[in-house]
Symmetry: C2
Subunit: 428 residues, 2 copies
């Protein structure tokens, strides 16, 4: 067992990028951890939160880049945590804390793997940013500016998990993301709700506008689907190689059926290849306990779209604005809070088989290979700008509650994760 | 000038009934103020917040009842107050605090008026409850149980104001209120928004359901309008006797037009006689700063309906439930958080002319008489159960920001309000 103290100390820092908390403190902590592992390190300031870079030379010239992030999702709703999100607690061989898996647990596993070598067989680079959970708004200029510093023969991404059947999974791509905030404005201040007799309520207006975005079956914003790439035959077939227990998934999530009551195979296809239009947040008027009669001065919706190749976030923002205008809602403002392109790496790349074999050697279980994640990340900067083949593998399981209350990591997985990274370095 | 210390001390108590804060403390303070004015007092516990009763015998047997409430609306959004809501502050001859007008300023004016008599010409009773702002859920059983204690020849209600032209206004009725909370439930916990590919979002479902409640022009819940009483000719004509500067009202509220771009007379008709369906609050998922990608486990809407004779809140709840069920939204739960019947007193009642003449003698300005308020209150308990003619007159002006940030009272109005109550007692 590796000493858990460095991980626990890292998890105590509430580095919530959305609310700009403790970000510099966490970046410095990461820098110190990389230095202790023998890396030459540097903290690069950005217009947002700093990026931490580390590099350690190996015997051969071949080079592997690890992409990670030290920021975490906001922990709310706080009342649903069994122990405080930034006071790590071990229960039943699991470590509970915000970031236990996503992504601080994985950062520490990689650092521990590097530390385990007397001399590294290859050169290893770390790029650990602080804005992944808010859409990596400042990573693109950094990557473009430091292309030669980051130059590598392969990149290990930061996501992955053991699936519900404990099979290790890897991912060769991500969906894109377009995160917007819609604001509908009414009277100058919140009014007594008796004014509803004569004053239009911005919450009703927002509801009427959002109602035009989708039906239960389909996103209805004109132009949204235009640039979606037709699936290749190989991509369609891969759906059948991926194990998926639809009933278990529903039970775990606590739902009786998937959207449109779709069967498991169709659900898997949507997870891999379906774009989404999701309400992440709604806020208007009085949201506390009990009743307050008020006509709110504004109403806000946070809407995120997951995108698939070759959709572009900028085009989605334009499509939404045009749609609102055409539907008579041009008074509703649209602010883009995050944008990421989708990305995919070919399954025939050497790095893919290296990762598959490394995991097999440690876990004695064949890897399940997904052509894409359901989630997003700035992978396209590496695949499409730096032209580095990229494979995502990480620790975590279906009980991890990523982005939810009671996030946790299985401590046996943590140990296994260290060994897997060691094997990838050995074989690459 | 009367000493403002008792009022300022009363305003310092944050008696927010919606969040159950400091209610007993405030009830005891009211009891003490009534005792100091010479009343026989009693605090009646209820299943909610206590009711304070006070009575002081006069020379004649005639009896006037004052209805007031010591609870206040929640002060949020706190950041929009120029001074803290429960730290009363005087600026430019106005006293700023939550409750400055609604209703603590008026309570103190009435107590000061009573104190100004060496001997009262009539008997005066005070009923001061603590749940008006949450729909007076426990007043009905109290009124039914203590009908003889409360027996009076007239009741002075707690609302009214000087209008935008500084004309004193009185009200002979109120709209009813039906306040419901709708909850749409999805997965067991908030999920990573990537799940939007396969899991229905309860916020979308709530939006789709709410969208069926009304169009821009009309409430579309079947049965909602069924029991609305046809307006009498006299009621329709009174619209033309009420001054209303539509442009000033719009400017003050900060809107460019009324709903449906209706003209001033139609707006006045809606204010007096139109039922409403208003969103008081919307809440789902992440509502903080910046972005968080989440598929929320539930979405909540707080909806209030203002009702007109002879609509009943119970019938509205039933209509909403039936409508949701008929539209395929029977999974969305409906909880009633407040219910009040509408009420009206005839303009030919003697109390009405007493109040009109009292105000004229103090203000030297004719009174504008409204057949109904746009707002609500439990007036029907007094008019329809106790059969007491009821007229509403109170201090306040169009800059009072009732229910909004920076609530305030003009200190000259406060003095005038004391004199008016004194004159009403003298003439009744």
């Amino acid at each position: 067992m590796h000493d858990l103290t460095p991980l626990i100390n890292l998890l105590k820092i509430p580095s919530v990028s959305a609310t700009h908390e403790h970000m510099n403190e966490c970046a410095e902590k990461i820098r110190d951890l990389l230095s202790e592992a023998g890396c030459r390190t540097q903290i690069f300031p950005t217009e947002g939160h700093p990026i931490v870079y580390g590099e350690i030379k190996g015997i051969s010239d071949r080079c592997l880049l690890f992409y990670d992030h030290y920021d975490v999702q906001p922990p709310d709703p706080l009342e649903e945590w069994d122990s405080p999100p930034f006071s790590p607690q071990i229960r039943n061989n699991r470590l509970y804390a915000r970031g236990a898996v996503d992504n601080k647990g994985n950062i520490m596993a990689r650092i521990e793997a590097v530390k385990s070598f007397d001399e590294l067989p290859i050169t290893v680079k770390f790029l650990i940013e602080g804005e992944e959970e808010i859409g990596s708004p400042h990573l693109e200029p950094f990557v473009r500016e430091h292309a030669s510093l980051l130059s590598s023969d392969g990149c290990i991404w930061e996501m992955g998990e053991n699936d519900e059947m404990k099979r290790p999974t890897i991912f060769l791509g991500v969906k894109g993301l377009c995160y917007i905030e819609l604001t509908s404005r009414g009277p100058l201040t919140d009014l007594h709700s008796a004014y509803a007799a004569i004053v239009e309520n911005p919450a009703w207006r927002l509801i009427d506008a959002l109602h035009t975005f989708k039906t239960k079956d389909r996103i209805t914003i004109p132009g949204f689907h235009d640039s979606i790439r037709q699936l290749e035959k190989e991509e369609q077939e891969i759906i059948h190689t991926i194990p998926f227990d639809a009933e278990d998934t529903k039970k775990e999530i606590g739902i009786s059926q998937f959207t449109r009551n779709m069967p498991g195979r169709e659900a898997m296809s949507e997870i891999l290849f379906g774009p989404t239009c999701n309400i992440s947040g709604l806020k208007a008027g009085y949201t506390g306990e009990g009743s307050k009669t008020v006509l709110p001065s504004k109403a806000i919706a946070k809407v995120d779209f997951r995108l698939v190749p070759d959709q572009k976030p900028e085009a989605v923002v334009t499509a939404v604005k045009n749609h609102l205008s055409n539907q008579g809602f041009s008074d509703i403002t649209v602010k883009c809070l995050g944008a990421l392109n989708p990305a995919r790496t070919s399954p025939n790349t050497r790095l893919v088989s290296v990762v598959q074999e490394a995991i097999l050697s440690v876990c004695h279980t064949p890897v399940v290979t997904y052509p894409s994640m359901a989630g997003s990340g700035p992978m396209w900067l590496f695949t499409d700008i730096l032209h580095i083949p990229t494979v995502s593998t990480a620790i975590g399981d279906t009980e991890a509650n990523i982005h939810s209350p009671n996030e946790s990591i299985d401590l046996s997985d943590y140990e296994e994760g260290i060994d897997i990274i060691r094997e990838i370095i050995n074989r690459f």
